[in-house]
Symmetry: C2
Subunit: 339 residues, 2 copies
DNA sequence: TTAACAAATGTAAGCGCTTTCATTATAACA
DNA sequence: TGTTATAATGAAAGCGCTTACATTTGTTAA
């Protein structure tokens, strides 16, 4: 493939001039610019991005680290990040951390050794302290789904507390009073915040919060089943179960069906995330939308603006609203209907 | 960050020697090797992969193009490709083609201009001819999910005919005789092959193939619903519907439930792909496993072997077996049970 | 001891660009 | 017309490596 010398020769200019028309920064006389462009297209010339990177000390690579690459949660986000960054001429390198602290750190080091200009991190096993340290090593990065006070400007999150609040509130509005909650692991901040929102909704409605009606799961569907079994065994049965995510809600649905419980008549179920399969469960799952894709796009814009000094016509927002997506798995409780 | 000169200086050797210990190809005396390694770790040195790429004319990048990045189908595959290639020290650049011919071609050009050493293509809108041409432009690539005779050695596919055969055969074995089929768009080879397998299973069982019992959908769930409506309206109703993929099978389930049909008692449904949500539908979906993830891994091995001349201890296979995954949506037909 | 050869290491060119600084062409004005 | 300011272009160094080739060092055998 042709290189910049050959273009320069063909256009009868120096390679510096060719470089100028490639980058469009410095000004070049219109006539010579046309000559150069003609030579470039005649030769089918494409700048060698590797040489550009080496000479300019900018790789134009953005590294993305997600905790799980397989599974539906991040795929929309990856798609929107990829689109946004590719439009800006950046390359996206994607790695998976497999929800493991060691592997996630390795992946970060891998991305750094790839000379990424910036990273987007969607992780769940790495401590805040590590990330704060990372920010001091002058590694540029954005964090999705995780709020770290010291570096809040580069964190992009959904309002988890509000999401938990809305989920429980929507159950209360249907008339539910006995509401179980299956939480994600409470060492995770998002799980804690969602639970806190749940409590606030109860309190606001004058319903006493009873810790016995909270089961702490691990965000996987099996713990949804286990949580259902636990809540089902309690003296006073729940008429609704709010879950910290959709996977666990799915587990509840499976468990409840196995127990011969009619949904939503006898039991309403609410999830969180609004994953793609929420509409395929039976009954279709009412859930809190997690705008993970918007967060990814915003993180990409933040990087374009902060790292690449591009003017993106966007206001950078760090916190995203949660919204209810109501489907069939939420209805009025049976004792309410029978009045 | 330190560069190779500083390492060389600290170790008291020339930079060529440092380069040799980095790459491990040429031999270096054990003593000097240790000195160099000591210097590297003391300086926290990491080779600059961009400079390596430029000097060696190998980018160590592999580009992946998938037709849809959002959605569950490819995410497992991406995960396994990424793991395999990262272990081999390659960087993975992922792009989406959005099932659009122009965009897919643009994406290929983008990946080429990224100087990828090789591509892995999972696409559905680009013609065979284009890919054959591409192979002549000495672009190295593997194709997943698509069989092209001229370049068969670099194509990795599931045995679609066998998959379609197995799906229908499993229905026949349960006693179904009136079996509807909802096909993917027949301009796609995989859809045609799956349908052909369906026909073979019927023929083998002595059931006459009736084209009226085939509905041609577009692989999306809405066309599953439409296909159900069509098959349901026929004089003699089907007791089982075999679908070209899981999305359409999901559409059938939704449509059938809306029509008040009991599944699987009154209607069995079989999908293809065994997507992650197959176990969450109700009834849980019997499907043909599409080993997309294994195919991705194999394509990665093929690239490591063919492009990077690495010895991978693997036999490269191009065609993968389809396997039935039986769940609740397939049962004996009602008239059979009542005997 | 020394010739002959192999192993280890060094030298230097080059990969294809960007960018600083120097130079030349052009324009503006007295 | 000559002078100066300004715009356009060119020359050349360097980004951090790899690698062909040259040189030095070490080893073996006569």
């Amino acid at each position: 493939m042709a290189n910049i010398y050959q273009v320069a020769e063909r256009a009868g200019v120096s390679l510096a001039t060719v470089s100028r028309v490639i980058n469009g920064k410095a000004k070049v006389a219109e006539r010579t610019k046309l000559r150069v462009e003609k030579a470039m297209s005649e030769l089918g010339y494409r700048p060698n991005s590797i040489a550009q990177s080496l000479a300019s000390a900018t790789s134009n690579r953005v590294g993305i680290l997600v905790s799980v690459l397989d599974g539906p949660f991040f795929s929309n986000m990856l798609a929107s990040i990829e689109t946004t960054l590719r439009d800006a001429g950046k390359h996206v390198i994607i790695t998976a951390g497999h929800s493991d602290e060691v592997k996630e750190k390795e992946a970060i080091e891998f991305l750094i050794s790839c000379r990424c200009d910036a990273l987007i991190l969607c992780i769940d096993s790495i401590s805040d302290d590590y990330l704060v340290d990372l920010s001091k090593r002058n590694v540029q990065f954005a964090v999705i789904n995780h709020q770290i006070p010291q570096i809040a400007d580069r964190c992009f999150i959904v309002d988890n507390e509000q999401g938990g609040y809305l989920a429980t509130k929507s159950a209360i509005e249907k008339g539910h009073k006995q509401i179980g909650y299956i939480s994600g692991p409470t060492y995770k901040e998002d799980a804690r915040l969602r639970l806190r929102g749940h409590q606030r909704a109860l309190q606001e409605a004058g319903i006493k919060f009873d810790p016995d009606y909270v089961y702490c799961g691990d965000y996987h569907d099996s713990s949804g089943e286990a949580g259902f079994a636990y809540l089902h065994s309690l003296e006073k049965a729940c008429t609704a179960i709010v879950c910290g995510n959709d996977d666990m809600a799915t587990g509840v649905i499976l468990g409840a069906r196995r127990a011969g419980i009619d949904m939503p008549q006898q039991l309403s179920v609410i999830g969180f995330d609004d994953l793609i399969f929420a509409r395929y469960t039976y009954p279709s799952l009412t859930s809190v939308e997690n705008p993970i894709s918007d967060m990814g796009t915003m993180a990409a814009y933040w990087i374009l603006q902060t790292v690449y000094k591009q003017r993106v016509g966007k206001v950078i927002e760090n916190m995203f609203e949660a919204k209810m997506v109501v489907r069939d798995s939420l209805s009025e409780p049976i004792y309410h209907q029978s009045i």
